[in-house]
Amino acid sequence: MNVFGIPMQALFGQLLLGLVNGSFYAMLSLGLAVIFGLLNVINFAHGALYMMGAFVAWMGLAYLGLNYWVMLILAPLVVGLFGIVIERLLLRHLYRLDHLYGLLLTFGLTLLIEGLFRSFYGVSGQPFQTPDLLRGATNLGFMILPIYRAWVVVASLIVCFGTWFVIERTPLGALLRAATENPRLVEAFGVNVPRMIMLTYGFGVALAAFAGVLAAPVLQVSPLMGSNLIIVVFAVVVIGGMGSIMGAILTGLGLGVIEGLTKVFWPEASNTVVFVIMAIVLLLRPAGLFGKEK
């Protein structure tokens, strides 16, 4: 069966791969948006921390003999804690300054973290075993569905919509949104805003690490896996605008799918299609698809 002269198998295969990439974009841009909302910092280190998540999981498997499921919880916790340390020691001192210093600091941290991992593990990827439970594929009739890829999409959707629910529909989320709008007023109500900021950063970072663990069996675990991703995620953030949580999720998934389809129809353009879309969106709707004009 062919669609536009492309075998159906290949089309759906790339569509699924696009969805997988889209879920990584969604999780990372969601974390960036939450962090930016409260800290006014664009966390360049997000890609490096995503890579750290994958590496911590790999280390847990290789050195400690723990299994995938334990690391899926443990790695985000470890990296989240690391993020909290960064926030306490470094980022906290920059809030009063121009936003660009936060970007520059996290950029420096990215080089530092990547350089350290490179010096120990080289640039070649470490293989990561797919957990037994999720190995293999099922035949859906119109396509072969690798179970692990389906799991990545489902797991990230659950996490993304869980985050959306907590922020938009619970009292805790209401407090968070209030602090995003006016931190001083919320502080006057007796909320410990600095601690909230710290935990928010930790959470955003843990989200990136979770994406990293999910990515580990799909992509190889390599020190450079984060830096190329983060630039695409920046473009995703510009396209979506950082105003809305749901916007970040939908833009991430949508762009992943578009990228996947481009890989089928015009492979050479698949690296750049997200940037081209960013340019078009900037021309037509500078604030981004879901952003609010300030």
Partner: protein, 325 residues
């Protein structure tokens, strides 16, 4: 003002004498190319308050354009240089035109993303030679007369290019136009309310900065007789930020000093690692040379946390305090 100019003349003369003091010309030319690149970047960050995270795109595209013109079309070096600068300026018009539609942190992200797109273009385009880059670019004869194959002759050409670029930046900043740019940096809404067409000023500054960054890239191609992909990477965009930050953003000599420090660091960090290994006995330091990024990242963090004015900036602040007391 006149004392400043006299100071620059002394520095320029000293730079002209460097090859006779035993300084390796290639090293000095590399520093000058990066210094010009950093000065161009500083025109945006330091004097206009725009953080471009994609300036490597202009360095890289001019390097490729000049290299291709010299190699494939066999033009003379001055035509190659002009072509490189023109390509960088045109690219600056496109990238700048898009990026100024958003401000602040978005501006940085857009320039970074556009530069990454340019990088992928160079990676995939056939004329750039992919991962290998353009090799063995002929230096040719300047104006068809002066043979540039000698490093010493080329040194004076690169010095002249650097001085021209530096003078343009100096003149721009110390002009009514430059005053408007500074006003934009300090308070954009006020500049708008005073009736300035802010977008036009920003775009003009961006194109100028891109063109001069291009000049640096074109010169670099002549020096190394090659144009490679590394000139267009995001790491290079980060490096130029670091040069400006270390030296002092918003100062004239800061980026020059910063470029010198970064180039020195890239060349010498391996030796430093060797020394640390022999001193501490920890073998890991030996491979510091291959992972310069660790050192660069560390300096970045230190600069941002504790040293935001940079070396020249701190020095100027010290002088001002002296004067005040």
């Amino acid at each position: 003002m006149n004392r400043h100019i006299a100071g620059y003349v002394v520095l320029a003369v000293a730079a002209a004498l460097l090859p006779f003091l035993g300084v390796y010309p290639i090293f000095a030319m590399k520093v000058m190319c990066y210094a010009l690149f950093a000065c161009a970047f500083n025109l945006l960050l330091g004097f206009t308050g725009l953080l471009s995270f994609g300036h490597a795109a202009f360095l890289g595209s001019a390097a490729y354009a000049t290299g291709y013109a010299l190699k494939a079309w066999g033009v003379t070096p001055e035509v190659g240089l002009i072509f490189g600068v023109a390509v960088a300026a045109l690219l600056g018009l496109v990238v700048g035109g898009l990026a100024i539609r958003r401000s602040g942190i978005y501006f940085a992200m857009i320039t970074l993303a556009m530069a990454q797109m340019v990088y992928f273009f160079f990676l995939q385009a056939r004329f750039t030679g992919g991962e290998d880059g353009l090799q063995q670019v002929p230096r040719g004869r300047l104006f068809g007369v002066i043979d540039l194959s000698s490093d010493l002759t080329l040194y004076y050409l690169v010095l002249a290019l650097f001085l021209i670029g530096f003078a343009i930046i100096w003149r721009t900043v110390n002009s009514p136009f430059g005053q408007v740019l500074k006003a934009l940096r300090e308070n954009e809404p006020r500049a708008i309310s005073l009736g300035y067409d802010v977008d036009r000023f920003k775009l003009l500054a961006f194109v100028l900065s891109a063109a001069i960054a291009g000049l640096a890239g074109s010169a670099k191609t002549l020096v190394f007789v090659s144009a490679t992909l590394s000139d267009a990477t995001w790491q290079m965009s980060g490096l130029v930020i670091l040069m400006t930050l270390i030296g002092g953003m918003g100062t004239f000599l800061g980026p020059v000093l910063g470029a010198f420090i970064v180039v020195l660091l890239e060349n010498k960090v391996g030796d430093f690692g060797q020394a640390l290994t022999s001193m501490t006995g920890i073998d890991w330091f030996r491979q510091l040379g291959e992972s310069v990024t660790i050192v660069i990242g560390l300096i970045f963090v230190i600069c941002v946390m504790a040293f935001r004015r940079g070396i020249v900036g701190e020095f100027q602040a010290l002088l001002r305090r002296r004067k005040a007391t």
